[in-house]
Amino acid sequence: MKLITAIIKPYKLDDVRDALGELGIQGMTVTEVKGFGRQKGHTELYRGAEYVVDFQPKLKLEVAVAADRVEDIVEAIRNAANTGKIGDGKIFVSPLEDAVRIRTGERGPEAL
């Protein structure tokens, strides 16, 4: 199994979920994160004091999948999240050794 982690622009969440849904993936876990990268932030002024807000709000999606589905899924996320603009984000793939469904105790790909 693999864990696919995608950092995307927040307003792309619905598109990505739809794309994954079409591939039969329904489970995922989403976290609100602050992204630092090439995409620059902005400067806010409060009564003349400048505050550089250099992070961008992003969403981190984590999807555990069977190893053989990785390419399809990466591709689907990429298509759905792509706007062609800087800051579109990243997809990371990392190994996953085991998965357990807490409710039933099932393990491995069945647990997903």
Binding site: L45, Y46, R47, G48, A49, Y51, V53
Partner: protein
């Protein structure tokens, strides 16, 4: 203060007495009770929210707590002897102990046309908000114990005497100083004290290098709205009557706030390309603070100009303090209230003139024949208040620093005052 006007207009004591002997006026009483509620509302929750939203999340309760505790402690001290020091007797410099614990004040004791208990309460709400304003200068770094000690000592040493000078029959009042609702008494004293406190305590950790951003602008805006509304009681109530003077004071107050708002946001729009909510709210407070001393003496045309100048001058002062002098007056009390109070006290001497056409006001103080004459008195009032407040505040703080220490430790400051001083957190959403 209407009292002041009464004193000036009815120059013989006999006449003033006669008015008092007319007995209580229900309408005036109704209005001043309302105004008293409005001025308390300015501090709690108005100012508390306005200030609370501007600090970082980890310090929000400390600011609310400071405003609340000041309200409680000042009220008790005011009752015990503060009111007497400010309004007892006829000394030039300070009151006396004749009204200690309101001895002899009953249901039917009057001050002018309203019960004295009410006059004392109305004044108490001013005595509360003034030290509460100072909180903005030392926010996010002062020990709670030191804050409390400072506020009470300052109330007695600075606020009570200055109030006596200006409204209690003291030397500035005798001289004909025009300060309708507290340009000198409230705003200059608070602004200067905040500046001195900011300098004595030193800047917050990270000032100038990292972001010390407002954590909740919606809270600040809620507070700003309450300040605007409450200020009708502050300035309108200072007429001490429900009449055309009070109404006009409210109108000029409102117009100055409106112009202050528009001016500040316009400057930002031009300079930075975007107008900001905080800018609008700050301009509003600048407009309100600046019109305060003038609010009983100027007309609506003058008020618009005063609001405009308030926006321009206080905006510049804020930038100057922060960018040039690099003083960390955390919530800009001096540039907004201090500078606004000085500006307004001086402009009261200008726009009270009856000869400015549509910008005319309602005349100079009794016995003062020219704008130059009135302006001179105003300038003396400004300078005296400024110098006295600065020196006295500096001494109080230095003494307190030596005795109990003013500032929390570095670690406590990093952790935030909410946890380090009160073991509480603002939010657990």
């Amino acid at each position: 203060m209407k009292r002041l006007i009464a004193l000036l207009l009815l120059s013989t004591p006999a006449l003033a007495l006669a008015q008092a002997e007319n007995g209580p006026n229900g309408a005036d009483t109704a209005w001043i009770m309302t105004a008293t509620a409005l001025v308390l509302f300015m501090t709690l929750p108005g100012l508390a929210l306005f200030y609370g939203g501007l600090v970082r999340s980890k310090n929000v309760l400390s600011v609310l707590m400071q405003c609340f505790t000041i309200a409680g402690a000042v009220s008790v001290v005011w009752f015990l002897f503060g009111y007497s020091l400010a309004f007892g007797g006829n000394g030039a410099w300070i009151g006396d102990f004749s009204k200690l614990m309101l001895v002899g004040v009953g249901h039917d004791t009057l001050n002018g046309t309203i019960p004295e208990s009410l006059f004392m309460m109305f004044q108490m709400t001013f005595a509360i908000i003034t030290p509460a304003l100072i909180v903005g200068g030392f926010a996010e770094r002062m020990k709670f114990s030191a804050m409390l000690a400072f506020s009470l000592i300052w109330l007695v040493v600075v606020y009570a005497p200055v109030t006596h000078w200006v409204w209690g029959g003291g030397w500035l009042q005798e001289m004909g100083l025009y300060d309708f609702a507290g340009g000198t008494v409230v705003h200059i004293t608070a602004g200067v004290a905040a500046l001195v406190a900011a300098m004595v305590l030193g800047p917050r950790k990270g000032f100038g290098s990292s972001a010390l951003m407002p954590h909740n602008m919606t809270m600040t805006v809620a507070g700003a709205g309450m300040l605007w509304v409450g200020w009708f009681g502050f300035n309108g109530g200072s007429a001490l009557a429900a009449d055309g003077y009070a109404s006009m004071a409210i109108l000029v107050t409102h117009l100055s706030a409106a112009m202050g708002t528009l001016t500040w946001l316009t400057i930002e729009w031009i300079r930075y390309g975007k107008p900001s909510m905080l800018g609008a709210a700050t301009g509003m407070v600048a407009g309100l603070g600046t019109i305060t001393p003038a609010s009983g003496f100027v007309g609506p045309g003058g008020a618009v100009v005063i609001g405009l100048l308030a926006g321009i001058v206080c905006f510049s002062a804020t930038n100057f303090l922060k960018k040039v002098l690099k003083i960390d007056d955390s919530l800009d009390v001096f540039p907004v209230h201090g500078v606004g109070g000085m500006l307004g006290t001086l402009l009261a001497g200008v726009f009270s003139a009856t000869t400015l056409g549509v910008f005319s006001g309602y005349g100079f103080a009794e016995g003062i024949g020219s704008m130059a004459g009135q302006l001179k008195v105003q300038a003396i009032g400004v300078i005296a208040t400024l110098v006295f407040t600065a020196v006295a505040t500096w001494i109080i703080l230095k003494l307190l620093d030596a005795v109990i220490g003013l500032r929390v430790s570095d670690e406590e400051e990093t952790q935030g005052l909410d946890l380090s001083q009160h073991e509480e957190r603002g939010y657990d959403l």
